[in-house]
């Protein structure tokens, strides 16, 4: 009996200790691979005493994990700006951002506007911008000539291209067919018909795809080894390959690159909001943001960071996007229900022979 009571006592103590004392001293972030360099984590700890704990993930997993716990388990998440409204309306997994606690002057105003437009639910803002970039094509210019998404289906590229079997691919091929999928977001019927069309295009093209990649490294390795000569990819990955091999370049597709932006959001039952706001203000400081941008290879939403950017990255950006981001299309927020339509089409593509 005495032993049992002792055990209980130890367990109770351990639970109490881990729960209360640490919450203010640690910040649990769920984010993408490479988004938070170790150097930045160390600097944050030195400045504030808060230890950052990272969980690496992607859009769908972030939402699913937060959904499973009702928004608990993490203090800060970084989903893409178009994936916030739907998830919030459906699952209530985030809490609104208190703008008074954030130094908004540090952000690029245009990007904050996009967040306001696409991540406001019931008049409350749920997200602030973190990094952004565009998705287009990566091409080995010695081995293939590709100017638009549908060129990946040219017969001479059989078995040598790759895309992700996810919604960006559907959007890209819809744009390349001359239609605007984003304009049809409100019209479910027309949208479903367009997606069916895109699905047929992708099925006809399936022999050209060597694989559907799930993670960045799978594609990078494919391109490096020469197995893949052209693929859909976001700018930073292409620029990284370009630094290794100048023949590999990012191509801004004729029908337009699609811009993405990943954000800061607060999970509904996060335990360290104060720490999360500290982290947001810290990572948007120009000197810190420049370091992050360099490590990630993408652009920060911090206003002052651009001057401090690596010249090489600026050059690559200029070469890829001569007229800046004017020709680029931003993802609008996805209304709930559309993903089910897309899901059926993606399943059909996967199953086709």
């Amino acid at each position: 009996m005495a032993l049992g009571r002792l055990l209980l006592w130890i367990v109770g103590l351990a639970l109490a200790g881990s729960a209360a004392a640490d919450d203010a001293k640690r910040l649990r972030i769920i984010t993408w691979a490479d988004y938070v360099p170790a150097e930045i984590v160390a600097q944050f700890k030195a400045e504030t005493g808060i230890q950052v704990e990272l969980t690496l993930s992607n859009n769908e997993e972030m939402i699913s994990k937060l959904r499973a716990t009702g928004g608990a388990g993490f203090d800060l998440a970084q989903p893409s700006q178009d994936r916030i409204v739907g998830a919030q309306q459906e699952f209530r997994i985030y809490k609104p951002i208190d703008v008074a606690k954030v130094n908004l002057a540090q952000f690029v105003p245009e990007l904050v506007e996009i967040a306001k437009k696409n991540a406001t639910v019931d008049g409350k803002l749920y997200a602030l911008p973190y990094v952004w970039g565009a998705e287009g094509l990566v091409v080995n210019s010695k081995k293939a000539k590709v100017a638009d998404y549908t060129d990946l289906c040219k017969p001479e590229l059989k078995g040598k291209t790759a895309v992700r079997l996810k919604r960006p691919t559907l959007m890209a091929f819809a744009l390349a067919s001359g239609k605007d999928p984003f304009a049809l977001y409100g019209n479910t019927k027309a949208y479903a018909a367009l997606m069916d069309d895109v699905g047929r295009t992708l099925i006809a093209c399936k022999a050209n795809f060597r694989f559907f990649y799930d993670n960045k490294d799978q594609l990078l390795n494919g391109v490096r080894s020469g197995e893949i000569v052209a693929a859909m990819m976001w700018d930073s990955g292409a620029w990284r390959l370009n630094r290794e091999n100048p023949d590999i370049r990012f191509v801004n597709p004729k029908s337009g690159a699609i811009a993405w932006m990943d954000t800061f959001v607060l999970p509904a039952r996060g335990k360290n909001d104060a720490g999360a706001y500290q982290w947001i203000n810290f990572t948007m400081r120009p000197d810190v943001a420049a370091k992050i941008a360099k490590a990630v290879g993408n652009f920060s939403a911090s206003k002052g960071a651009e001057q401090l950017m690596e010249p090489r990255l600026k050059e690559q950006f200029k070469e890829s996007f001569p007229d800046g981001f004017k020709t680029v299309k931003w993802y609008p927020a996805i209304p709930a229900g559309l993903e089910e339509i897309e899901g059926r089409v993606l399943d059909r593509v996967k199953a086709a022979n």
Binding site: E61, A87, L165, K206, F209, R210, F211, E227
Partner: protein, 293 residues
């Protein structure tokens, strides 16, 4: 009377106490989640955050040919993988149980076990390094002049089968070795003395004796294969289409837990049905088979 009942009660209490942890574990980690999933699978999304009772998820499965195609495909491929594993494990197990003497037998078993010292992910990635177009095997074939250009050996159904057989070989070898070891050698010698052929001995003596072991191995391998996620996904690439992948997709990328739960139960029903069918066809009883394994 009371004198005899008290110790019996105590013994029963002891048994209850000893069984409590596994029963609790079984209930909290297996029964409860399954009940939750069952409830989930009979739900349907009506609007944002709004759900109602329905059979819609199961109707979708039968209505969309795609899903049950993948379902049937997974079952057939798993059955083929199980059969191939049996064919490959049979001689291996025979060698370990009957031909290798003493320490050699133990050594051979360890050799079978060795690949399991690394995780399944690493083993599968190993296959990918060997089989990809710029990988070891295609390059070797190319440099030996056997193929005109390096051939992509990944992303075929056959590749999936190779991976599955490789991962499940051990689970077939162990029950087979067990049942071969209990086979009296004098039976085989007597059969030879009476002029039986090797094939007749296999058919009349070895297989009937090893039947429970064979069935046990097949059940374990079939279930492992059917529920495998990693191997078909990584080795099968764009054509993999394993049913577990559908479940993952529904849960994680589609946020459609209801559909995922329904798929999960269909898979459970499938494996139960296949095991029952296997036992019926081979005339075995589940209890006997599991004791042998």
């Amino acid at each position: 009377m009371t004198g005899a009942a008290a110790p019996r009660l105590q013994a029963r209490l002891m048994l209850g106490l000893m069984l409590a942890p596994p029963l609790l574990w079984l209930f909290a980690l297996i029964v409860l989640p399954h009940v939750d999933l069952a409830v989930l699978s009979f739900r349907e999304r009506l609007g944002p955050g709004e759900y109602g009772r329905s059979l819609e998820q199961y109707r979708t499965f039968f209505g969309e040919p795609l899903y049950w195609h993948v379902f049937v495909r997974t079952a057939v491929m798993s059955a083929i993988a199980t059969l191939l594993t049996l064919l490959m494990a049979f001689p291996v197990a025979w060698t370990i149980a009957k031909l290798a003497r003493g320490r050699l037998g133990a050594l051979l078993l360890v050799v079978c076990l060795l690949p399991f010292w690394v995780s399944e992910t690493v083993r599968t990635l190993g296959w990918m390094i060997l089989l990809r177009e710029s990988g070891v095997l295609p390059q070797l074939l190319y440099h030996l002049g056997l193929t005109a250009a390096p051939v992509e050996l990944l992303y075929h159904d056959a590749t999936i089968l190779v991976g599955l057989v490789y991962t499940s070989l051990l689970f077939m070898v162990v029950p087979l070795v067990n049942s071969f070891e209990s086979l009296d050698n004098s039976l085989i010698e007597a059969a030879y003395d009476l002029g039986a052929s090797g094939f007749a001995i296999l058919r009349e003596i070895v297989i009937p004796h090893a039947k429970p072991g064979i069935t046990a191995g097949c059940i374990v391998v079939f279930m492992l294969t059917l529920g495998n996620y990693l191997t078909p996904n990584l080795l099968g690439g764009k054509n993999s289409q394993w049913f577990t992948e559908q479940i993952y997709t529904q849960f994680i990328t589609r946020f459609n837990w209801e559909q995922g739960a329904a798929f999960g139960f269909l898979l459970l029903a499938l494996s139960t049905a296949m095991v029952w069918l296997g036992l019926k066809l081979s005339g075995q009883r589940f209890g006997d088979v599991m004791r042998r394994a």
